[in-house]
Symmetry: C2
């Protein structure tokens, strides 16, 4: 080839200019090192992961120091998880502030309904859901420890419906959890809250109705003393989540819905630090007078579930 | 647009097919959430990181369960690091088996020399280097605990040279570390090895020469009881590293070289589980007879360093 003049450089004795600044075979070698017993899904997911990690690394020409900072950062995540006795999941939180949990949620729950009723949009679970929340009676309060200072009592109610038939779903479980008026969840705040304060599960009645008392939610900051705060600082971002109530609504015959509801008056709606706000999740808390249990606000919220196996128009 | 017939679907009342299955603005919103005080480099690196994480996630349509497995996996990495008192760095090892450390190393050390002498190729540091290795006298052995069972004593020597002038570099520090004949480094093997066994630093003489006694290295397996073994199993890959000797050669006026040397007889050279073998690092251990200190093998290896600031032809 060097003697036939097709490659001008080679004919003149200089090596041809490489088309790729770095070893062009390296990534393929790593991916193809996977053996025949890898599952199809693992080959696909891990192969794509390796390609993106390598492309990112070449694209930014990641330095040794930056890579080592990254290794330290990852180790810090698991160190906090370990030392907090598995209650502080900064790894989960890092995924949230990078938008990853919201994106996975979008991928998992994209349904465009064929009927008139849209399914309730999902939103991220976040790190504060507990599998141990107790069942409470319809009409009860989740304020197990009473109304906290500055807390505004809200009567919340609605119907859980089937998006296909529009019919109520009796027996659906409405699981709700929220931070207290100081912006902290029970397990972040053992000095002020007993376990399961501001958590509860309610079983919808024969008409698919639920009713409970909760707090108007309060905006809060992510913790400012760990790796996620370090990352937010590097990105010059605020750590605020808009005020929200978490709900998870389930029934054996329906696709569950995990989501969050946001008061329409919140100042952080458009810059939520975990990118979890969607338009149909922004709600109106209305003034209420004369409530027997002292609520000064009312929130009516209906939840629409798709039957299991329903894929919608996509 | 719907009435002019350009888009057939729209003219017939159906919505136009989205060009992007998921929210096309999501990733840009996350990236643009970075504030004005982010450094240029952080904006560039973290922006690229977010884009690649999101692209990967959409490309494979990562499921909630897969993402949660990933979160658990990352937490396990830091948990092992914490519980091993920071001696077992599985995060570093995961980077190695994904080829990331080798790639970062390639990016950091790509020099094409202008003169006749090529600089010694670098290779990855790995998780076993120690800052505490003692200085030893030229001609001494690093086998502080004596020759282990099945160990083959090797006399290793060479010259450390300047790639520009070809002149020796007196006073250069030659730092060497290796696993014992059982495949374990000192801090993995406290029952058989004292701290700093098979580690040592040597200062080159006035002629840039170093000389020492070490072991012919032994191939070994990465640990088979942690997250990196779990990942290798998912990928149906073997955990073997070819036999190697680690070296790190430094001098205040030269660019340091961290690398590994591999016997040319090793069976794992082409499938190294951390992708760290390069052709000029594969060496020939020659038989030796009559050595006063009992070596039965000889390895001559010259190291070529580039002066600080030298960029070569790139």
């Amino acid at each position: 080839m060097a003697t036939n003049g097709v490659n001008g450089h080679a004919a003149e004795g200089a090596p041809p200019k490489p088309s790729h600044r770095f070893d062009p075979d390296f990534t393929r070698n790593v991916v193809e090192n996977m053996g025949p017993a890898t599952t199809e899904r693992n080959r696909f997911v891990l192969g794509a992961l390796v390609k993106h990690i390598h492309d990112f690394t070449r694209e930014v020409e990641l330095t040794m120091d930056e890579w080592m900072e990254g290794v330290k950062f990852v180790n810090q995540l698991g160190e906090i998880y370990t030392k907090s006795n598995h209650t502080r999941n900064e790894t989960h939180r890092i995924c949230d502030i990078l938008g990853l949990e919201s994106l996975v949620d979008e991928i998992a729950h994209k349904i465009i309904a064929e009927g008139d009723i849209d399914p309730t949009s999902s939103s991220i679970l976040g790190p504060f859901w507990s599998p141990n929340a107790p069942f409470r009676e319809l009409g009860e309060s989740i304020m197990q420890d009473g109304v906290p200072p500055k807390g505004q009592v809200t009567k919340m109610h609605g119907v859980i419906r089937d998006i296909i038939t529009g019919q109520p779903i009796p027996g659906a479980v409405f699981d709700i959890w929220q931070a207290s008026a100081n912006g902290k969840y029970d397990f972040q705040d053992p000095e002020n809250q007993t376990p399961n304060n501001l958590r509860g599960k309610f079983r919808a009645d024969a008409n698919g109705r639920y009713e409970l008392y909760c707090l108007h939610p309060t905006a809060y900051s992510l913790p400012r003393d760990g790796p996620s705060w370090q990352l937010l600082t590097m990105m010059d971002r605020h750590p605020m989540r808009p005020a929200h109530i978490h709900i998870m609504v389930t029934h054996p015959e329906f696709q569950g819905c995990t989501t969050q509801l946001y008061p329409n008056t919140d100042e952080w709606l458009t810059t939520d630090t975990v990118f979890a706000v969607k338009p149909d999740l922004v709600v109106d808390f209305k003034p209420l007078t004369g409530d027997a249990k002292g609520a000064t606000l009312e929130l009516e919220y209906n939840v629409n579930l798709a039957p299991k196996g329903y894929k919608g128009k996509l």
